[in-house]
């Protein structure tokens, strides 16, 4: 395993939970699979499609996302929206993320 691979693995470990939080926050306004993928990418949460799509369905199954089919356009799309439980989860995760960020900052020597 090369140094680059090891770095990539550690970065992935660090980012793993943040995609969930980003989805919950972004989906306060309803969104669909590919559109959310683009938004995440634009906002600096580069995510693979084959990670995001199963994640959305899992969060829906756990009750953190609600879904609705939109058939107004030629291509029917499944729209997800953060539920009340999802919003609560997002708040908890945000608080935890801030706590971790503060803790990390206190470890970093001042320049």
């Amino acid at each position: 395993m090369s140094d680059d691979d090891i770095l990539a693995m550690h970065l992935q470990e660090l980012r793993r939970g943040t995609v969930v939080l980003a989805c919950l926050q972004l989906l306060r306004t309803p969104g669909y699979g590919y559109g959310l993928l683009e938004t995440l990418d634009a906002r600096g949460f580069a995510t693979d499609a084959n990670t995001l799509y199963p994640l959305l369905r899992r969060l829906e199954k756990q009750g953190y996302l609600d879904s609705e089919w939109n058939t107004d356009e030629a291509r029917p799309r499944k729209f997800y929206r953060t539920s009340a439980a999802g919003a609560a989860l997002a708040a908890s995760l945000t608080a935890e993320f801030r706590a971790i960020a503060t803790a990390i900052a206190s470890l970093t020597p001042e320049n």
């Binding site: 669909y32 590919y34 084959n50 799509y53 899992r58 499944k78």
Partner: protein
């Protein structure tokens, strides 16, 4: 929807439960379509855009595993150590028993030595393969069935939760794994020797082979001996599992030793232990009775000394001060 996309969606959704398959197919189709459109809008030909999108999505089986929340491993971290401990334990015990059983059966049916070794080796290999396969299969099924709910990381089964009660004992010398295996192997060799003696005979008289032990001991006396030997084997395993000799083991050890020695000496005194034909055949008739009595006395003392040493050894091991071998080497 073209053929490639259709095939991809089929592959990614065929293992998903029926009730959510339609929903998932439609959603996946839309997501793939959106991604292709985005690439086409930026000037890529549609055919190549489709290939690129599907290649990016990757192995459809992996995607399907993500959708169904299925484990993509045979035995995961939740059961790995339970599986490994059980497999190791069984692999130490079962093949030894199987080897003994197969060898015994072969000897009883009068097979030649080569055939006995051959079928024992083949049989043990078969047992090892079966053991590993079935144990692993059971754990793989367990991994996929018991209490799997999303976000549930703690093992719900009581036997899967580890506590300090399950810490292994620090083993003083003489109670380790090698001692247990040595006891079991010794018992197995002794059992095979007894059976061998009966059916082939240990003594070569010049004309034929002859058993040393009285053939009239079969089947009941020898069966009794085998029961005691199984008891010895069980005790060796129990001592290993406990990690030390306890007074209970010392008493049991003494009882087992006496259970062999007392009947053996009684039989010897009554001229029933050794094969009478052996002496009359091997030794000239005029001195046979004398030699027989000398051999009997020596055998009797031998049995008594071995039993006495065995009993004392058990007591010494029980009350020997516990040492911590960790720091010594």
């Amino acid at each position: 929807m073209t053929n490639l996309t259709e095939r991809y969606i089929y592959a990614a959704t065929r293992s998903v439960p029926e009730k959510s398959r339609g929903d998932l197919s439609t959603e996946l189709e839309a997501s793939i379509g959106d991604a292709i459109d985005a690439r086409v809008d930026s000037g890529e030909p549609r055919i190549e855009a489709e290939r690129a999108v599907l290649n990016d999505l990757g192995d459809p089986d992996k995607l399907a595993a993500g959708y169904t929340d299925r484990p993509t491993f045979l035995i995961g971290p939740r059961y790995y150590f339970e599986w490994w401990r059980l497999l190791k334990l069984l692999l130490w015990i079962v093949p030894v028993c199987a080897a003994f059983g197969i060898a015994l059966g072969q000897v009883l049916s009068g097979a030649p030595a080569g055939a006995i070794i051959g079928s024992t080796v083949a049989g043990v290999l078969g047992v090892v393969v079966h053991l590993a396969f079935w144990v692993t299969l059971v754990f793989a099924i367990l991994e996929r069935s018991a209490g799997r709910s999303a976000g549930d990381s703690a093992p719900p089964e009581p036997w899967a939760t580890w506590s300090v009660d399950r810490l292994p004992e620090i083993r003083p010398k003489g109670m380790g794994f090698g001692d247990m295996v040595a006891s079991l192997v010794f018992l197995a060799v002794a059992a095979v020797a007894i059976v061998w003696d009966r059916f082939f005979g240990f003594v070569w008289t010049g004309e034929e082979r002859m058993p040393v032990l009285n053939p009239d001991l079969w089947p009941w006396w020898i069966a009794g001996l085998f029961v005691i030997m199984i008891g010895e084997a069980a005790m060796a395993i129990a001592i290993y599992r406990t990690g030390r000799w306890t007074p209970g083991f010392a008493v049991l050890n003494a009882v087992l030793a006496l259970a062999v020695a007392v009947p053996a000496i009684w039989l010897l005194v009554n001229n029933q232990l050794l094969n009478p034909a052996f002496f009359t055949t091997v030794i000239p008739a005029d001195s046979a009775a004398e030699v027989y009595s000398v051999v009997s006395v020596l055998t009797g003392f031998g049995i008594a000394i071995i039993a006495g040493w065995d009993i004392i050894d058990g007591i010494l091991k029980t009350f020997r001060p516990a040492r911590t071998p960790v720091c010594q080497s």
